[in-house]
């Protein structure tokens, strides 16, 4: 199969896929993630803007296949190159990622400020300064985009970090931006289509040799994707039924687990919420003192388990902090609940010991039956 020049294997597929010359081999079934991983790493890199000299070199290549271009065709080629992204767009994408986000203070921070005597409480934190690329960083982006095609994305990020403040979000924005850009195969394919359209208007024909050259990369890319997809399908066909890793991605067990077992068990557990709500409405009644105590406890725990509890009791002064929702929850769980549970556990242990002794000493012989059956 045709491999792109800079094809490399790592990522999710690196463990199981191996390349031997012109063939790819996979051990066991291939998961959708591994398929995406192989296709992502296929070496079809997004294009960067073409400088004037590179454009002329490209036109030279075109003219060497089927003769000189007409003026209209030359204009069309230039227009196609003009559709590629410009460095200013990448700078804009990075700057957008550098805009500081809104952040809010927690209720405790606000309360602390209030206790400290702050008269004008602000919910929103002071915004951090936006990270905008400085002149040196813009130059680095320009070089990456136009004058230094050998510079990798990682090298650009390293240069940007060295040249000034640069966040991880901004670094991620570069990859996200480039991922949306066309590859050389896409550009040549678009150009072939445009030249064919032009030929229909002008009555000229596009030489077959030129068309073949323009579509070669697209064909290679499509052929590569097709072969990898075939590999994906082939990896799921086992030579012997039920052979291979039983829980490997794509195997029958994996499929049953992923699409039957997991959704069913998660749904069963989630349905508890619906039945508990219905039961609470119908059966949780304050019929006597014990039930009232249980209700009160339930309300405190339900509220304290969310943001609302602490927020509702945030006005309670520090001297009465025992009445704050979180503190009340802590008391209930670590004092009453722990004492109750320990009493039950000790009771069970004593009961087991007493019953065991009774059986061992022959005091309790009921397990033998009463003899009248």
């Amino acid at each position: 199969m045709p491999f792109p020049d800079d094809f490399r294997l790592d990522g999710a597929a690196g463990d199981v896929v191996t390349r031997d010359g012109d063939s790819l081999t996979i051990r066991g079934p291939m998961s959708p993630e591994q398929l995406a991983s192989v296709l992502d790493l296929a070496g079809f890199e997004p294009l960067r803007p073409y400088s004037e000299s590179r454009r002329q070199a490209f036109i030279g290549e075109l003219e060497s296949r089927g003769g000189p271009l007409s003026e209209d065709e030359r204009t069309q080629v230039m227009r196609t190159f003009d559709t590629l992204w410009q460095p200013s767009l990448l700078v804009q994408a990075i700057n957008t990622a550098g805009v500081a986000r809104k952040e809010f203070k927690s209720w405790r921070e606000l309360r602390r400020e209030q206790l400290a005597g702050e008269p004008n409480l602000q919910r929103e934190r002071p915004r951090a300064a936006d990270l905008i690329l400085n002149a040196a960083q813009v130059v680095a982006v320009d070089e990456f985009a136009t004058s230094d095609p050998a510079m990798s994305e990682d090298e650009l990020i390293a240069r940007l970090r060295a040249a000034g403040e640069f966040s991880d979000r901004q670094a991620a924005s570069i990859g996200a931006f480039l991922a949306t850009q066309p590859t050389l195969a896409d550009l040549k394919h678009d150009l072939a289509i445009e030249l064919l359209k032009l030929a229909r208007l002008t009555g000229r024909t596009v030489p077959q040799e030129r068309l073949d050259w323009l579509l070669l990369d697209t064909r290679q890319q499509a052929a590569f994707e097709q072969k990898v997809n075939e590999l994906f399908q082939a990896s799921h066909i086992t030579r012997f039924a039920w052979s291979g890793a039983f829980d490997g991605s794509g195997s029958p067990f994996w499929w049953i687990y992923e699409y039957v077992f997991q959704p069913l068990t998660a749904t069963m557990f989630a349905m508890l919420a619906f039945y508990v709500a219905s039961a609470a409405f119908r059966a949780f009644r304050a019929k006597n003192t014990e039930a009232v105590l249980l209700l009160g406890t339930a309300f405190i725990i339900l509220l304290a388990q969310t943001y609302l509890g602490p927020w509702l009791t945030s006005w309670v002064p520090e001297s009465l902090s025992a009445l704050q929702a979180e503190e009340m929850k802590r008391y209930i769980m670590s004092l009453f609940n722990t004492a109750g549970n320990r009493a039950i556990m000790i009771g069970i242990a004593l009961g087991i010991a007493a019953t065991s002794l009774k059986i061992l000493l022959g005091v309790d012989r009921s397990y033998l039956g009463r003899g009248d059956e």
Binding site: S106, F269, A273, V276, F299, L302, Q305, T306, Y307, N341
Partner: protein
Amino acid sequence: MLTRLANIDRRWIFLLMGIAVAVPILLQLSFPEYPGAQAQAVFDEIEKLRPGDRVLMAWDFDPSTEGELKPMATALARQCAEKRAKLYFITLLPVGPQMIDDTISEVIREDFPDMVYGEDYVNLGFKSGNEGVIKVIITDLRGLYTTDNRGTNIDQIPMCKNVQSVQQMDLIVNVSGSYPGTKEWVQYAVTPYQSKLRLVAGCTGVQAPLLYPYIPNQLQGLLGAIKGASEYETLVVKAYLGVNPDPKYLEARRRMGPQLVAHLLMIALIIAGNVIYFAQRRGSV
């Protein structure tokens, strides 16, 4: 009217609960969290680890409790990996290996690609026998775990070569969804060897009250339900992940929105049920 309300079709309540859970998810409601004492205790206990310390990661949960427990499992794995501890994953539940695989692929492979399988982390997989497994491996790990989950002989795994029993672990981190879980680890592992073993755990909301009696001597810290997870997540994010963490480390906080509205609905339903009950009783007297 009251009779109609008292006998309301329960499907209306189901619908209300569905809306209460769905709306915060769709609106992506999120609230600030402040770490409680237990979350802090778990965080501090893991912070004590030094590079190269052995940590037993007992992932005793399955897809039924994944929604509640996976966020804390992710955050726990992240902090242990940050401490450069050697991680030994095991599970006592048949579908636990999938939970371990998820943690390994989402946390270790994605965020710590330099960690090497067999040297920095190992997946020992599932063994049947519930607390019986704990009882054996606490004195003889190699007797039961002769291979890892992939079938590699344990003698060929560098990080397992000098490990004879669980007593050599510097910390046990347990995420427990049901039986067997934290209670069994406390009873059969930590209690007989209290001077040697330390245990921190995360569990479902239903289990948490049953585990409080073991704090702090047999259980050094406990993350109870999604609330505990979100508090702990806040600590891990603050310490290691900065202002723009990967969304997988904010999952517990994201789930606190639906929990808030669902709890409010529960309270409203209980109050409504009681109002109707007392009004009917007064009417019948």
